[in-house]
């Protein structure tokens, strides 16, 4: 008898692991804490070095997950407790209440139009614009169902303040009558043979290096924010415009190793940022051919397949400038809101100041390790039982940790780890 497997995390790694297991005829529970699968890759505009549209190559996999008879997709769900052992884990999961009946909801979007609570920072767009309290995270969400955020919903706010339930506008206008304010969290116990964790990463807080001015100066962005600016589905519909005045920048600086390779924040290298910035610079040039893009780096980590060629193409074909330097600080011109970068060009040994319109910080990554369920190293990355004999296994037998959890890595490596973990989990599942 083949037992099911649990995959925690619905980003590209979790999706791939689930598909590989399901294709082997194994039942998979794919648990994702946000309302939709897709993860970070859904936030990207294009991927390096192929410059594929990220959503275009991701959404077919998302749809496959939704359609696959062997995958039970449990979004807006979290893992509460794990007990048991390899081959026989008992997992308590909590299905958080959406306050929307998913069987009735058609994803039509009328509720979003009507909801009066409109000032919530949109997580998908990295806070660059707002969303409503009832929302679908992005147009290609899987499942395409609305979710109510009880923290900002006016109805729930009023209940918390002890008043009678206010608003309920969405309920009135929903054509499918899908709103259900009475929903409660549902706890389910799963019995699985093996568990794969693929919970991904977040960015370090760039304010830890306050000399770069993130949060103080309007035109300093993180690279995920910049990805959203580049995206046609983003807050500015693909127009790269400055927060301060809505104008197109003429000169963009990309600063590498912000809170990476840095003893004061994170000593490790975040692996993907050199290529991400190269890609973003190229895309910026594609959007605005006249823009000048400069990348400040210490060592250019173009180590993967096609990466060195991509880096050279950025310089030769797109004229992106690379300056070997780690800038000391960024200051703002109070009138123009331009940024002035103070740095030493370590090749010419010249101390310089450069004025740019926009700064994109390549901020380091931090794994979203669920330390309750698997052990981690000092830098919070997941411990591996024996990284050489079994590169995806955590020290707990039957539990696998993939993607960014094991260390900073790009999409091809995450996807490979996902398949590898699926193989290991399948062996457990088949033992019955």
């Amino acid at each position: 008898m083949i037992k099911p497997v649990l995959v925690v995390g619905g980003g590209i790694a979790g999706i791939q692991a689930a598909l590989d297991l399901a294709d082997q005829g194994i039942k998979v529970y794919l648990v994702e804490r946000s309302p939709s699968i897709g993860g970070r890759m859904a936030q990207l505009d294009k991927t390096f070095p192929t410059l594929d549209c990220a959503a275009c190559i991701l959404t077919p996999k998302m749809v496959s997950v939704a359609r696959h008879p062997n995958i039970e997709l449990l979004t807006y769900t979290e893992v509460k407790e794990i007990s048991g052992k390899a081959g026989d884990f008992k997992v308590k999961i909590v299905k958080k209440p959406r306050y929307v009946n998913v069987d009735k909801c058609t994803g039509c979007g009328v509720c979003m139009e009507k909801c009066p609570s409109k000032k919530i920072p949109n997580e998908f767009n990295m806070g660059l614009n707002n969303r409503t309290a009832i929302y679908i995270p992005f147009p290609q969400a899987v499942p395409l169902k609305a979710t109510i955020d009880p923290e900002h919903c006016l109805y729930f706010k009023s209940i918390r303040e002890g008043k009678k339930g206010a608003c309920r506008v969405c309920e009135r206008f929903c054509p499918a009558k899908a709103i259900d304010f009475e929903q409660k969290p549902e706890e389910v116990e799963l019995n699985v043979a093996s568990i794969i964790f693929a919970t991904g990463f977040e960015l370090e807080d760039p304010r830890k290096r306050e000399e770069y001015g993130y949060g103080k100066y309007a035109n300093v962005y993180t690279h995920l924010e910049f990805e959203r600016l580049l995206s046609a589905t983003g807050p500015t519909e693909g127009e790269i415009v400055r927060r301060s005045d809505g104008k197109h920048p003429k000169r963009i600086a990309f600063i590498q190793c912000v809170c990476s390779r840095d003893i004061l924040t994170n000593p490790y290298c975040s692996a993907i940022c050199c290529m991400a910035s190269t890609k973003e610079a190229i895309l910026a040039k594609e959007h605005m051919p006249e823009v000048e893009c400069i990348v400040f780096y210490m060592d250019l980590r173009a180590f993967g397949k096609g990466y060195q060629e991509f880096y050279e193409r950025a310089q030769k074909e797109f004229g992106i400038k690379y300056i070997r330097s780690r800038p000391a600080k960024i200051e703002e011109d109070p009138e123009t809101k331009n940024l002035i970068i103070t740095y030493e060009d370590t090749v010419t040994s010249e101390y310089k100041k450069m004025e740019v319109d926009m700064v994109v910080l390549a901020v380091g990554v931090k794994p979203l390790s669920l330390e309750k369920f698997f052990p981690v190293e000092d830098d919070r990355f997941a411990k591996k039982e024996n990284p050489f004999l079994d590169p995806v296994a955590s020290p707990i037998e039957g539990i696998y940790v993939i993607g960014m959890l094991g260390g900073p890595k790009d999409i091809p490596d995450s996807v490979t780890e996902a398949s590898a973990a699926a193989m290991k989990a399948a062996i457990w599942a088949a033992r019955g």
Partner: protein
């Protein structure tokens, strides 16, 4: 059945979806449905808010029964989104799923013209008309199935291949593991510090031990894949077992080695020392049987005389065997870059060695038993030049980065510093790529006072007595610095394996511009080849380190397991076929097929093109090339396409 008859029988149902506000906010869906009613053969035309929803699907099923529809069109989103959904709906109502057609009026219309409502509505009508034209000429198609053999072939007995074989065997499948050389282990068995206690050899030994003990893995060393027939799920692999000239009666006593007169460079020591023509690759080789290097052997027969168990047979011939498998994992590894003679002084001085040779010198079972002795001395100063053979540093170098060398070299440096703390070490590098958590190695090297010099211009090496002098234009100082050292280590990179061309032609897989095998998609399908049923593990797709290779082995196994755990392999019937009456056997289709799915067969003394439906991917190149029109792609026949074009251009359904 005549065409006219066919046309009369056609009864089309058109369903225009609102998709909530996605389409309806731009396109006047009611008007489009009304327009559809005016088209020939359209019996039913409706609009609905969400066709993919349960009520929408029910509506289609009911109408098929009620109105005896035999063609269904849904004008909604992209077929990539819901074509399979509606095909399933139609099938449930008893209609062949390939009599369904989608008209994309969302991605192709409402989403791209949000401001031009009128023009978008007209365009939607055009798109529906096109769909009706095509649907008129659609034919029912049956799914194509192939048998699946529940076993796999793994080509390459290195760490990636062994890991894949073990995973598949543990999953319950029979695995045939073939390895070109006389022993399993691959490159990793001879190199690599994984951390400071575990070496590549330890990993290889562990895997070799497990492989040898697993009854489901059938190992063939000294063996190569000569030919491959069949297709996904059902391959026939023709293996040739090259003669080892030594049977398994061999006790590995080593007497033969003493008398063998021939000496050649030992590839298992990367040329540092020689071996004899009869040799055991290394102590932990599996199988632990000697082998004779056919190219070097003079057949003098001295070894035969001293072999007590009489295990040597100089007349052994190559054997051929045929294996039937469902999936193939290609894990054929890489070849290290061998610097040219004179490149950075290589071979011109005994004091210039490669990184791979250094790793053998540092190995406890190496030619110097782990003592760092080169040309008779332990060097007091060592320089490393990075990116040899990579990053375009020399005319014979590749343009890519070999990924694993920075970390590998730094691990060796730290190992040297541990044992010989007083040796001065210089790392002369183009770029430092200790990515991810390996950044730690760089920091440790700086702490150990390793001196880093960065170059952009390739350094110049001058050979002198007792060492070399490297002249490097240091980039961060803008100064030309001469570094005199006792030993120079060239950090050489990875190349595709020697027999890559043979592999490519036998397996019918292609390579990218870097020479390594091309994967189906660089980002999302890194362990699959473009040919269905063939999976790629390890460095065969490009440089990577040992851990990444082992991960790739498991990943490829997962893909292979998904295939061979099925009983049948199903292929979409949107494939090509040649009308035998029209086909002249010219063979033009064969030459343009990227999947080698077409062959010319002789039938009744006529040359006819035959399409292997399991290999065909429905790209249409053959149909477009065929001069006689014999080759047609099902579901995209010339007639269907021309009908669409006429419908769009002339506004009428032909």
């Amino acid at each position: 059945m005549s065409e006219k008859e066919k046309k009369e029988e056609v009864r089309i149902g058109v369903y225009v979806c609102h998709c909530g506000i996605n389409i309806a906010a731009v396109v006047d869906v009611k008007a489009v449905a009304e327009y559809a009613k005016t088209l020939p053969n359209v019996v039913v035309a409706k609009d609905y808010v969400f066709m993919c929803s349960a009520p929408g699907q029910e509506m289609i099923k009911n109408d098929i029964k009620e109105h005896k529809l035999n063609r269904v069109i849904v004008a909604a989103c992209s077929p990539a989104m819901h074509e399979p959904t509606f095909r399933a709906v139609v099938e449930e109502a008893g209609l062949n799923p390939f009599l369904f057609e989608m008209a994309n009026i969302r991605e192709h219309c409402s989403w791209v013209h949000p401001e031009e409502k009128e023009a978008a509505t007209e365009k939607a009508k055009d798109i529906v008309r096109r769909a009706v034209a095509k649907a008129t000429y659609l034919e029912p198609l049956e799914k194509i199935t192939g048998k699946v053999v529940k076993s796999a072939l793994v080509i390459g007995g290195g760490v990636a291949g062994m890991r894949a074989a073990l995973d598949l065997a543990e999953r319950g499948f029979d695995v045939y593991l073939i390895e070109k050389s006389p022993t399993l282990g691959g490159n990793a068995a001879r190199i690599g510090y994984l951390d400071f206690k575990m070496r590549g050899a330890d990993l290889a030994k562990y895997l070799m031990d497990k492989v040898s003990k697993n009854p489901k893995i059938h190992v063939y060393t000294n063996s190569e894949l000569k030919a491959l027939e069949g297709s996904v799920g059902n391959f026939i692999a023709k293996i040739v077992k090259n003669p080892r000239f030594v049977t398994d009666a061999c006790t590995a006593c080593g007497e033969c080695v003493k008398v063998c007169p021939v000496e050649v460079p030992n590839e298992y020591e990367f040329g540092l020392v020689n071996r004899k023509a009869i040799y055991l690759p290394y102590d932990y080789a599996y199988p632990r049987i000697y082998a004779i290097d056919q190219a070097a052997c003079t057949k003098c027969g001295k070894c035969v005389e001293v072999c007590k168990p009489k295990a040597i047979n100089l007349d052994e011939k190559a054997e051929e065997l045929e294996i039937n498998v469902g999936a193939i994992v290609l894990a054929a590894g890489y070849k290290y870059y061998e610097p040219q003679e004179g490149e950075f002084g290589y071979k011109k001085s005994k004091r210039v060695i490669t990184l791979f040779q250094l790793q053998r010198l540092l190995a406890e079972d190496g030619p110097t038993r782990g003592e760092l002795v080169v040309d008779g001395v332990t060097p007091k100063s060592i320089a490393f030049i990075s990116c040899v053979g990579s990053m375009g540093t020399t005319p014979t170098a590749a343009t890519y980065c070999s990924r694993m060398c920075c970390t590998s070299a730094l691990k060796d440096i730290l190992k040297i510093k541990e044992k010989y703390p007083d040796i001065d070490i210089y790392y002369i590098y183009k770029d430092l790529r200790t990515y991810g958590r390996d950044e730690d190695l760089y920091w440790k090297a700086i702490e150990n006072m390793v001196k880093f010099l960065r170059y952009e211009e390739t350094p110049n090496v001058r050979v002198e007595d007792g060492g070399v002098v490297i002249e490097v234009n240091e980039v961060t100082l803008q100064e030309k610095i001469a570094v005199p050292v006792d030993l120079l280590v060239l950090v050489n990179g990875m190349r595709p394996p020697e027999d890559i061309e043979v592999i490519k032609s036998v397996l019918k897989v292609g390579s990218g511009p870097d020479g390594f095998i091309k994967e189906a998609h660089l980002k999302l399908r890194p362990v699959e080849a473009l040919t269905d049923g063939i999976y790629l593990a390890g460095t065969i797709t490009g440089p990577k380190n040992i851990i990444e290779s082992v991960t790739g082995g498991s990943a490829a196994a997962a893909k292979a397991a998904a295939l061979i755990s099925k009983d049948v392999v199903e292929v979409e019937p949107i494939v090509s076929s040649a009308d035998e009456e029209l086909c002249s056997g010219c063979g033009m289709c064969v030459s343009v097929c990227p999947y080698d799915a077409i062959s010319i067969e002789i039938k009744d003394e006529r040359r006819l093109a035959k399409v292997n439906e399991l290999l065909c991917k429905g790209c249409g190149a053959c149909a477009a090339t065929c001069p006689s029109g014999a080759m047609q792609q099902r579901h995209f026949t010339d007639k269907q396409i021309l009908a669409e074009i006429t419908a769009l251009a002339k506004g009428v359904i032909p």
